[in-house]
């Protein structure tokens, strides 16, 4: 656990910065919207964070996402939309930031303690999946569902 626990407002501000940076970078290319519905949150506490990656080189690399969205957690489902994405191959990861510290928390053996999920419901053997397992071919507007586990 980090000694400093950012407030949810700080987390939101950080995310807003990421989102602004991403949307302005993508603003010139109009192609498709990707709606991501996240299910399986065990509580309505905190936020659901959704990150979009556009290639295996950047997949799950800190700060290398092609976009981040967030929504207050809901045990039913939350939906976020990545707009105006160029056609291409993408992968999604999401986690339930229950304590709104802006990061995925791990226990002392290095396993995540907050629920997470990947597009295609992909999971490695007790590890994150490869980009190819989670990949979505985006050619037109699309809607996917990701399960938190």
């Amino acid at each position: 656990m980090s000694a400093i626990q950012p407030t949810s407002r700080a987390a939101a501000r950080w995310l807003a910065t990421c989102i602004l940076a991403t949307t302005s970078a993508l603003a010139q290319v109009h192609a498709a919207d990707l709606a991501v519905t996240v299910k399986g949150a065990r509580s309505a506490q905190g936020l659901v964070l959704v990150a979009l990656y556009d290639g295996p080189e950047t997949f799950l690399k800190p700060g290398k996402h092609a976009g981040v969205q967030m929504a207050p957690a809901d045990v039913e489902a939350v939906t976020v939309v990545f707009r105006n994405l160029p056609a291409g191959r993408y992968a999604i990861t999401t986690f339930h930031d229950e304590n709104t510290n802006g990061k995925l928390d791990f226990n002392l053996t290095g396993s995540p303690v907050e629920a997470l999920g990947f597009s295609n419901d992909a999971f490695g053997v007790a590890a994150a999946p490869a980009f190819d397992k989670a990949v979505i071919d985006l050619t037109a507007d699309a809607a996917i569902t990701v399960q938190l586990r």
């Binding site: 656990m1 226990n107 002392l108 053996t109 396993s111 999971f123 053997v125 007790a126 586990r149």
Partner: protein, 502 residues
């Protein structure tokens, strides 16, 4: 047969087939289920491995004799119980979802209830009507990818009572809190945020001052996590220890100053997990590694010493204690190979007997100052060792254990008490038509540690097809039970128990 009858039969069959639940097709398709169902008719011992139809609620036992005041209270036992679902049978005894049995004992009465622990796995599978996740020793195509240890936590191995809280324990993941009266599942126990989801083994040891020590093997990170929990059930410390390999470690022991781990050379190879093997089949027996012994200083968990004993396998330790010179004696139940894990406990799931390696009491002598360790074997057949709990970590004279294996069924038929220094054994045999579960030593209040007490335990009577609960005088086992309660039904054979006095 008349043509009209034939036609009627044919149409009935067609209708039946159309409406047959998918379960029916699966039952026929699963050879383990088919073999077990076939064996049930011929082999009485299969009774201990049947899946009960549901939870048990409040049946009274028929009691002969009188249960002494010391054992009036509640005996809780956990064990794998839901061995099959949707017509599909698990392929290892340790896979089944745990059911906690509750025996409420008064002088002349015993009321029994039992309930399956509602782990997320069991709840999801029950709703789906079929298995969704692998077990400790079962895995087949089409199951969900396991995302962490708790995803397939079966909460089926033991029970711990601490500060009035009852926990159902597995060894690979979180403990589950259970209501001690209703047996309702309250949820996974979270000791702290940093230990959330970290394995918490099924063999905690309770110090004489009420401190609970435990460990968890993190199979994914070659790590042994050590826990110190106060008598108030609050976590004091959790510390990871790096290990050269991840060994199959089921139990450990404590002395007044140390934690003692014996690590059999049954080593996890993670590449086998990635190839799709079950957890147990991802281990390899590597006797050339010997048995590593880890001694950890309770006062400073970072002070660790490694020793080595000859290769061997064990599930359970009896007790450990250290003398004035710092020499640690630790006894455990030794087998030459992990044959039970891979043979017996698998075969019985399809109703088959497999030759089992002999389990004997081993007494090891550890000299951490000189880095030396040695052991001797007592030729006493044993499993499920327990001691007078007041002597945990201190010098003990006796081990209480199951004994007397049978050619006609897996498991044991006697309860025994062996003096570890002389090897002398006092024994009560329930008879070859009984299968004995773990028995506990219950101290007589007001006596000194190592003094008078009672032996309390259960057995499955294969002839009368019922579970019995018996109480003995600890120093007169061979006299037979002073009280015996007969349940109106048979329970699945379980593993470890705990007792809380009224």
């Amino acid at each position: 047969m008349q043509r009209r009858n034939l036609l009627r039969l044919a149409s009935a069959y067609a209708a039946g087939a159309a409406f047959a639940p998918p379960l029916f097709a699966e039952a026929a398709a699963d050879p383990w289920m088919a073999d077990f169902l076939k064996a049930e008719a011929a082999l009485p011992w299969t009774l201990g491995y049947r899946t009960p139809a549901g939870d048990f609620g409040g049946a009274s036992a028929q009691v002969t004799g009188r249960f002494p005041a010391a054992v009036q209270g509640v005996l809780f036992r956990n064990g794998p119980a839901i061995h099959d679902m949707g017509g599909q049978r698990y392929q290892h005894w340790f896979d089944g979802d745990g059911m906690v049995q509750r025996y409420a004992i008064t002088a002349t009465g015993v009321a029994h209830s039992g309930k399956v622990v509602r782990t997320p796995k069991f709840v999801a599978e029950k709703a789906a009507g079929k298995r969704l996740l692998e077990g400790f020793g079962s895995k087949w195509p089409g199951l969900q990818q396991v995302t962490g240890p708790d995803a397939f936590n079966a909460a089926n191995t033991s029970v711990l009572s601490v500060n009035g809280e009852l926990l159902a324990l597995w060894e690979g993941g979180s403990a589950f809190a259970i209501d001690p009266v209703t047996l309702e599942t309250r949820g996974a126990k979270v000791w702290s945020q940093e230990t959330r989801g970290v394995p918490f083994s099924a063999h905690p040891r309770v110090d004489s001052d009420g401190t609970v020590w435990n460990f968890g093997v993190s199979a994914l990170s070659d790590m042994l996590v050590l826990y110190e929990i106060g008598p108030d059930a609050k976590l004091r410390r959790a510390q990871p220890v790096r290990t050269p390999h991840t060994s199959y470690v089921h139990d450990f022991a404590i002395t007044e100053r140390h934690l003692v781990f014996l690590m059999p050379p049954l080593v996890l190879e993670r590449s086998r997990m990635h190839e799709g093997h079950s957890f147990v089949d991802s281990h390899r027996w590597r006797p050339e590694l010997g048995m590593r012994v880890l001694v950890v200083d309770k006062a400073d968990l970072s002070r660790q010493q490694w020793l080595e004993l000859p290769a061997g396998f064990m599930f359970h330790l009896g007790n450990a204690w250290e003398d004035a010179q710092g020499i640690i004696r630790v006894d455990y139940v030794h087998a030459a190979t992990p044959g039970v894990l891979y043979g017996t406990d698998r075969a019985l799931m399809r109703g088959q007997m497999s030759p089992r390696p002999e389990y004997h009491i081993a007494i090891a002598r550890l000299d951490p100052a000189r880095g030396k360790a040695s052991q001797e074997l007592l030729k006493v057949q044993a499993e499920f060792p327990r001691i007078d709990p007041r002597l945990t970590g201190r010098r003990h004279c006796h081990l209480l254990h199951a004994s007397q294996s049978q050619a006609t069924h897996p498991g044991f038929s006697a309860v025994a008490r062996t003096a570890v220094e002389t090897g002398h054994t006092d024994m009560y045999s329930y008879g070859a038509d009984h299968m004995v579960e773990e028995h506990l030593f219950i101290p007589e209040p007001g006596t000194a540690p190592g003094g008078a007490g009672w032996v309390l335990g259960t057995a499955l009577d294969l002839k009368q097809r019922c579970t019995v609960l018996a109480c003995f005088r600890a120093d007169h086992l061979s006299d037979g039970p002073v009280a015996l309660a007969k349940l109106p039904y048979a329970l699945p054979l379980g593993l470890h128990a705990t007792f809380t006095q009224s």
